[in-house]
């Protein structure tokens, strides 16, 4: 039972409001959005900031967390929301196989070295050239969107590379200004 008190302390120390570990299938995603919505609706935040937070959470849940179709019953993804001095942090983590890891690493490296203007153009080009997006393009768009909405305040790293699997953590900061 001590873990309850420890978790509460850890959550309080870094102002984490919410932590969800799941496979984020569509039925649960709706409820996740509803929890996040009620969390941020109580804050005295500008509606544009609330929209930014909400949109990033949607991208995280729909395109990063729920992409593990092969293990749809396992709880391989996490989503955390915390309040920081400058705004809110959204943290998303998901288990990846090597193929997806290589793909996302390449996309993230490319995006993180691009300017906001370049990213906006890239987003336009992906949307305008395709009607049905492939999984990798959806991921690409989601990550571009996170970088644009957070003005580039995205940190990521891959941890625990173990054989064929590793865990990707992405932290997105949405500033109140």
């Amino acid at each position: 039972m001590e873990y309850t008190y420890t978790l509460q302390k850890l959550m309080a120390e870094s102002n984490y409001l919410l932590a969800i570990r799941d496979n984020f299938e569509s039925l649960l995603s709706k409820s996740v959005f509803s929890i996040v919505e009620s969390q941020i609706s109580n804050d005295n935040l500008d509606v544009n900031i609330k929209n930014r937070i909400f949109s990033v959470v949607v991208e995280c849940v729909q395109n990063i967390c729920s992409n593990d179709k092969a293990h749809s019953t396992s709880k391989n993804s996490i989503l955390l929301l915390n309040k920081v001095d400058v705004g809110h942090n959204i943290v998303v983590g998901t288990k990846l196989n090597n193929e997806r890891k290589n793909r996302l690493e390449q996309i993230l490296t490319e995006i993180s070295s691009s300017s906001t203007e370049d990213l906006k153009n890239k987003r336009k080009s992906i949307i305008s050239t395709r009607t049905n997006l492939e999984e990798s393009q959806k991921e690409n768009l989601a990550l571009i969107d996170m970088f644009i909405r957070s003005a580039g305040k995205v940190k990521y790293h891959f941890q625990g590379e173990d054989g064929n699997d590793c865990f990707l953590i992405i932290e997105i900061e949405i500033s109140n200004n």
């Binding site: 039972m1 870094s14 984490y16 932590a19 570990r21 799941d22 039925l27 709706k30």
Partner: protein
């Protein structure tokens, strides 16, 4: 990555926790957490009766959190929290909240009492408590514990932790609801 995040993730994995909420409990938050749990249970395809049980117990536990709040003059040193744990054969609903030291013995006695009774005895105690219908100062928690014990058909686990407060401790309550009714 900050160390708290690593630790939270690691504890969630170790304990099979699927949802942790820590902070103020208001009506909207309670509603959305109930909705999340409802969705989760629906997608798990578990028996309607079990679903109903889990839902009712969760309502009871979340109500208890809101009843045991700090008084306005107390500095908030800890936050209430709710944890949903999914194991292969059962769910655990875990709540943590500050509790005034004056009510600890009463809460402890109530839980020990319900933990010591069998189903028939719990039923009788519940009837008697409803007839007396005397709402305790902390909001009728006694009746709530009997109700939770009856619905879960498992013992209630609890603990009190010292916190940086002269008047409060941190009370954790864990209930277990089996996925299959025998």
């Amino acid at each position: 990555m900050d160390t708290s995040l690593k630790q939270i993730h690691s504890i969630m994995n170790d304990e099979n926790a699927v949802l942790i909420y820590s902070g103020e409990f208001n009506q909207d938050i309670v509603k959305s957490m109930l909705s999340y749990t409802e969705g989760k249970l629906e997608s798990s395809g578990i028996d309607d009766l079990v679903r109903k049980k889990i839902f009712n117990v969760m309502v009871e536990q979340l109500q208890n959190i809101t009843k045991h709040q700090y008084t306005a003059e107390e500095k908030q040193v800890v936050q209430p929290c709710f944890i949903l744990i999914e194991q292969e054969n059962f769910y655990n609903l875990v709540t943590g909240n500050p509790i005034h030291i004056d009510t600890i013995q009463m809460v402890k006695d109530r839980i020990d009492q319900v933990n010591g009774l069998n189903a028939e005895e719990l039923k009788a105690l519940y009837k008697q408590a409803r007839l007396n219908s005397r709402i305790s100062e902390v909001g009728g928690a006694g009746l709530g514990f009997i109700d939770v014990a009856r619905k879960t058909e498992n013992k209630l686990e609890y603990a009190f932790f010292d916190i940086e407060s002269a008047n409060y401790k941190y009370f954790t309550l864990k209930t277990q609801i089996n996925k299959i009714i025998e």
